[in-house]
């Protein structure tokens, strides 16, 4: 089941857990043996601590949910001092999801994470607003993404996975820009920007009005984008967005993903990640695939 994503990031199987939905892994150890996963991606971490957005931060939607957590975290230094020692010996790959609101923060954060022996990769979250550029997200323009990826690339020497925002006109173009700027892989999708309103109270349901949509409802969009990106780039693609079972995971791999991540589905079934890993295996056996890598891009069309 092994998947080699390049530059030292080798997964035991294609299943990882998505940032912001699996805490630091510790929250799920009663439910999942982490050794059965290809990797876990910890909470979005920023150079400086962030309190995140006010409550309420979530709203349920048809087959999905919106969240506006707003990257609450205690900062990279706290991660290094307090969290890393607790999780570094997990028997799986522990990836850090790095966010920032300025180029400098990304670079500084990546430099600090580069020194952590047991973190084989950063997943670079480029969906955050660039405060110096009027709040537009880094990841929605080719120039924005080129800049942040190439700057981080200079200081980060391990596997650099770039997580793409789906809120763009042309995802393939953005992915190619990330590839050209030095990404070792791309992961997609991050959340779709959405909104929910309480009609009775005539108020937004989220404290900051809009939030990120995730869960089964976004799967068709995610699958399409993974397919488009996999055709456009040569680096490995990690697919996510609404994956809830092994069949969903297989679909993403057929569309071209080399590995997948499970997000919101962890909330519905905390054991789902291990079940998906097992189910992919079962699918391969049933369909006569010797290696899980044979699934990658095996869509007939």
């Amino acid at each position: 089941m092994t998947i080699d994503l390049g530059r030292g990031l080798v997964l035991r199987n294609p299943v990882m857990t998505a940032s912001g939905t699996f805490g630091y892994g510790e929250e799920y150890t009663d439910f999942v043996d982490l050794a059965q996963l290809g990797g876990i991606i910890v909470k979005g971490t920023t150079l400086h601590p962030r309190e995140g957005n006010p409550y309420p931060r979530m709203a349920e939607t048809a087959s999905g949910m919106l969240n506006c957590v707003g990257l609450q975290n205690k900062g990279v230094q706290y991660f290094i001092d307090a969290i890393y020692p607790r999780i570094k010996d997990f028997d799986t790959n522990v990836l850090l999801n790095l966010s920032g609101s300025s180029l400098e923060d990304y670079v500084k954060g990546a430099e600090m994470v580069d020194a952590l022996e047991k973190i084989p990769a950063i997943e670079l979250n480029v969906s955050c607003p660039n405060v110096k550029q009027g709040g537009m997200a880094f990841g929605v323009t080719t120039t924005g993404i080129s800049q942040v990826v190439s700057e981080v690339r200079k200081v980060y020497h391990k596997h650099l996975m770039v997580k793409l925002s789906p809120n763009v006109t042309n995802i393939a173009e953005i992915a190619m820009a990330a590839e050209a700027a030095g990404a070792d892989s791309v992961s997609l999708i991050n959340t779709l920007m959405g909104m929910a309103i309480d009609a009775e109270k005539r108020k937004p349901k989220l404290s900051v009005i809009t939030g990120g949509l995730s869960g089964a409802c976004v799967k068709p969009v995610a699958l399409r984008m993974v397919w488009q990106v996999a055709k456009a780039v040569k680096i490995p693609v990690v697919g996510l967005g609404g994956i809830s079972n092994a069949t969903d995971a297989v679909e993403f791999m057929l569309a071209g993903a080399s590995a997948i991540e499970i997000g919101t589905a962890n909330f519905i079934d905390p054991t789902v990640s291990a079940k998906v890993a097992w189910g992919i295996n079962e699918y391969c056996e049933r369909h006569g695939f010797q290696k899980v890598t044979e699934l990658i891009g095996a869509l007939e069309c």
Binding site: T21, G23, D30, Y55, P56, R57, M58, Q72, G215, N266
Partner: protein, 254 residues
């Protein structure tokens, strides 16, 4: 405390109109469960219920591996739960969060419940009684029919009642009950609608009495993983599902 995900069978059901009591039995032994902890229930067959629903543990019977929930129908999820039939399988993740702090023996303890907020107080009162602490209970509702299982609560401690329409007990809110004039308390525990909890917390603060409240913030994971359920505290945003749902009011920015 080890968390589990397990299937339970509905073995007893009691209808209280808008609310329903569900006794659920697991095949295997229950883990340790503290009063004030909650479960995350999966609601099957409810197309608009994508996430699990957090529900307090109303009662536990370790001998028969049974957990009892008291559920008020407020939306599609709770309506579907209330429609469950005997023998139906209901999946739960449990036990979640931290329960109430146990008082010392000899302390005078008041449990204040409003509406469906009385739910976790039943198991809590039972545990107190088992620990030789006889709590007093102050239960409030809009009207008589909101006071569910009153006779059962009364067995666990002296019970005072208010209703907004005066149909049972004293008329008004729990904060207006005469017991506050007649009795001092060492510890107050509150669960109910937020305005009620804030009012009781304020009274407690004025009297400088130790007070714990059980919050019901909207949740997604219930495990401290998503950071959706945060409450603003003196320590910043903390997860209600993991560090709560019970908080000492001194920690809250109310």
């Amino acid at each position: 405390m080890t968390k589990q995900i397990a299937d339970f069978k509905l073995v007893q059901k009691q209808d209280f109109g808008r609310s329903v009591l569900l006794k659920l039995r697991a095949e295997q032994a229950l883990p340790e469960i503290a009063p004030g902890q909650f479960v995350q229930v999966r609601v099957d067959g409810s197309p608009n219920t994508y996430l699990r629903r957090p529900i307090s543990i109303h009662d536990v019977d370790f001998q028969h591996n049974e957990i009892t929930l008291l559920v008020q129908q407020v939306g599609e999820g709770t309506r579907h739960l209330a429609m469950a039939e005997m023998g139906n399988v209901i999946n739960m993740v449990m036990p979640l969060g931290n329960g109430f702090s146990l008082p010392e023996k000899g302390e005078i303890v008041l449990l204040v419940g409003g509406g469906i907020g009385i739910a976790p107080l039943f198991y809590f009162a039972k545990v107190l009684v088992e620990n030789d602490i006889r709590p007093m209970l102050l239960l409030g509702g809009k009207t008589e029919s909101d006071l569910l299982r009153l006779a059962d609560y009364q067995q666990l401690g002296e019970t005072f009642v208010t209703t907004e329409d005066g149909s049972l007990g004293e008329k008004g809110f729990v904060t207006m009950h005469s017991v506050w004039q007649n009795q001092d308390f060492d510890k107050i525990y509150v669960c109910g609608p937020k305005p009620m909890m804030k009012a009781v917390a304020k009274m407690a603060a004025e009297k400088d009495v130790w007070c714990e409240v059980s919050l019901e913030n909207l949740m997604a994971c219930g495990l401290g993983a998503c950071l959706c359920c945060v409450e603003d505290t003196v320590d910043g945003h903390v997860c209600v599902c993991k560090e709560g749902p019970v908080f000492n009011t001194r920690r809250l920015k109310w």
